[in-house]
């Protein structure tokens, strides 16, 4: 039995987003950041696949008869760079918030208030 590439991608992205959303809804800021990162990865793969899935087709004009769409790849590069920077920022902000409020909770609640 062979699984089509489209099915693999669709379920894979769906699974990662589901995990990301679950983590995003947790109470600790570190876990929330992990969730955001996972969603970011899934979105990047999603953008990539929106140029359709091709095999043996480089994004270079004239290299072969069939070429893949280079634009989503350019878009995904931009999205990766922006996602990387914002993730770095949110981690720093979470650390600072943790330092100031003395708790890793997203609402700054004391540690005892949150069952682990």
């Amino acid at each position: 039995m062979s699984i089509s590439m489209e099915f693999l991608f669709a379920t894979g992205i769906g699974w990662v987003v589901a995990v990301g959303i679950y983590l995003l809804l947790r109470g600790r800021s570190f876990v929330v950041v992990l969730g955001l990162s996972l969603i970011g990865y899934a979105v990047n793969v999603f953008i990539f696949t929106m140029g359709r899935l091709w095999s043996a087709a480089p994004p270079i004009l004239g290299a072969k008869e069939s070429i893949t769409d280079p634009l989503p790849q350019a878009l995904v590069l931009t999205a990766i760079v922006i996602g990387f920077a914002t993730t770095g920022f949110v981690i720093e902000l979470a650390l600072r918030s943790r330092h100031d409020s003395g708790s890793d909770h997203v609402d700054g609640k004391p540690d005892a208030a949150e069952p682990r």
């Binding site: 590439m5 995003l24 800021s29 929330v32 950041v33 955001l36 969603i39 970011g40 979105v43 999603f46 953008i47 929106m50 140029g51 359709r52 899935l53 091709w54 095999s55 087709a57 004009l61 004239g62 008869e65 069939s66 070429i67 893949t68 769409d69 634009l71 989503p72 878009l75 931009t78 999205a79 922006i82 920077a85 914002t86 993730t87 920022f89 949110v90 902000l93 979470a94 600072r96 918030s97 100031d100 409020s101 997203v106 609402d107 700054g108």
Partner: protein, 542 residues
């Protein structure tokens, strides 16, 4: 001068970014403990003010050019649209640029009164924020819109926590996480649109979307709904508006006043994408979001004013009024006719200035009330009751729409435009009711703070606000009053802007050139260098 005329459209983006870089290179005064008279801080102030003033002149020049009806498309590096980066200045964009500068100049002047010394790199971040705002208003491409969104957001994340404190960091973390989640949705919406249309250029999209039918149209409409969630989040549309009051009330006054224009980026994007691309003449996708947008906009207005009535602090009250005013603007947008859009543009310009002035005023009042600060409880009398009370009365009257102030003119235009619409009664009841409740909310706040004073408390050491802070606030209020005095020419401009906004053919001609008139622009990519449009499956997506 010819060179300047050619490159004028890109200057609103280049000027703040260049200024920001110079400000970064100039360095920082080193944080809280520095005295206000630090040499680097003085130079940063001069440079930032000069840059914002030049920005005001540039945007005024662009409004002047756009008022003549010319639609300027600037192709960066002469790469032809839809492949390169297109900057488009029409009346709407120019108006938003001018509005941004009009808010930024007094707010920056106010910030030089001391707030800019309470943290690091305030001026550089302020310029980056302006770069993002201006870029979002001039770009003609959906992906560049995303990029400029991120630029203005990352600047706003840092400005939001400017001045620091545990409360700002806590709310700031919420704000950042929510915005990052919204950005992910933005990317999904954008790539869905690209998958079905093969383009992200707004002019090209406006030509492509009407041609999409059948199951593909459903995908494109799903993308439109996703984008509505994203833009609605920025604009604080009903179910997504609860983050705004907490965030804006926590930010320091000049930052909150600058953020008054940031919600309008969301409104602007809804206008461009859902008002035009998915608006009238969009074939199977025409009026995609209309059935939900109008009720949600009305609900946003009502929620905003109820929040304002329930607010315990003046800053939170003003933040809720921001939500109410956005709701009114979105009502105008959701009516989908040129008269209503003109009213919406006029009201948006006025309400942004009024809200910004109210944020500054709230802090001026709070600073003179001793320990009570901006909480709405009886406290020591303010040092300048006549001046601040008078200004609050003026802005309150404008915010609630009392004649002859511009809030009244905007709402009157909106009410006139909604006649004969099926939702006319709902629009009239909501707009008038919200105006009335706004007045009650502000009157309650004003009477507690200025009349219901306690003389038993020890006199605070509060002296009057410095002339600079008062002057900056006065400048904003003067701008709103000027909108009333020059209502006729401004109304002519917004009416022309609304008509131009709806004319997707003229927009496409200006951006895409002669190809804009051809039936086929960009098509979804097939993987073949020279394959005809129909023979997509020959190579086979695999």
């Amino acid at each position: 001068m010819n060179w300047l005329h050619t490159h004028l459209p890109i200057l609103p983006v280049l000027l703040p970014s260049a200024t920001a870089i110079v400000l970064l290179l100039l360095g920082d005064h080193g944080g809280d403990d520095a005295s206000h008279g630090h040499r680097k801080l003085l130079w940063a102030r001069r440079l930032a003010l000069a840059s914002v003033l030049s920005g005001l002149i540039i945007s005024a020049a662009l409004v002047y050019v756009a008022a003549g009806g010319e639609l300027r498309a600037y192709l960066v590096g002469e790469w032809p649209a839809p492949y390169g980066i297109a900057i488009v200045i029409d009346r709407f964009s120019a108006l938003m640029l001018l509005l941004t500068s009009l808010v930024a100049l007094p707010v920056l002047w106010y910030a030089t009164g001391g707030w800019d010394a309470h943290g690091r790199y305030f001026h550089a971040l302020f310029q980056f924020q302006l770069m993002g705002l201006n870029g979002a208003f001039v770009t003609g491409d959906l992906f560049n819109l995303f990029v400029f969104f991120e630029v203005l957001l990352i600047a706003s994340y840092v400005l939001m926590v400017h001045g620091q404190g545990a409360a700002r960091f806590r709310v700031g973390l919420h704000y950042v996480v929510l915005n990052l989640a919204a950005s992910a949705l933005f990317l999904i919406g954008v790539s869905l649109l690209y998958a079905k249309t093969g383009t992200l250029n707004l002019a090209d999209l406006a030509l492509r979307v009407p041609k999409i039918e059948g199951p593909d149209a459903a995908v494109v409409q799903a993308a439109a709904w996703l984008l509505l969630v994203v833009f609605g989040f920025k604009a604080a549309l009903l179910p997504l508006s609860l983050w705004l009051p907490a965030t804006y009330a926590a930010a320091c006054a000049p930052v909150a006043a600058l953020f008054a224009i940031m919600t309008k980026v969301g409104v602007y994007s809804i206008w461009r994408v859902h008002g035009v691309v998915f608006g009238a003449d969009a074939g199977a996708s025409a009026y995609t979001v209309e059935p939900l947008l109008l009720p949600l906009a009305l609900g946003t207005s009502v929620l905003g004013v109820l929040g304002a009535l329930a607010a315990h602090t003046l800053e939170r009250l003003v933040a809720w009024l921001t939500v109410a005013s956005v709701g009114t603007v979105l009502v105008a947008l959701a009516l989908f006719n040129a008269d209503a859009w003109s009213a919406g543009l006029y009201y948006m310009a006025n309400s942004t200035l009024v809200i910004a002035a109210l944020f500054l005023l709230a802090e001026l009042v709070a600073a003179q009330r001793g320990d009570a600060a901006d909480r709405l409880v009886p406290a020591t009398p303010v040092a300048q009751p006549a001046l601040l009370g008078g200004l609050l009365l003026l802005t309150a009257a404008s915010a609630s729409g009392l004649p002859p102030l511009p809030g009244f003119i905007g709402k009157l235009m909106l009410l006139e435009a909604s006649t004969a619409h099926t939702w006319q009664i709902a629009v009239w009841v909501t707009v008038l009711g919200v105006g009335f409740l706004t007045l009650i909310g502000l009157a309650r706040a004003g009477s507690i703070m200025f009349w219901h004073v306690r003389t038993d408390l020890p006199e605070g050491a509060a002296s009057g606000a410095s002339p600079k802070l008062i002057g900056a606030t006065l400048l904003l209020i003067a701008a709103t009053v000027a909108m009333s005095v020059f209502a006729a020419p401004i109304e002519r401009y917004t009416a022309a802007a609304a008509l131009q906004l709806g004319d997707r053919a003229a927009y496409a001609r200006a951006v895409l050139g002669a190809r804009g008139e051809a039936t086929e622009t960009t098509r979804p990519y097939t993987g073949r260098v020279d394959a005809p449009a129909g023979a997509a499956s020959a190579g086979g997506p695999r």
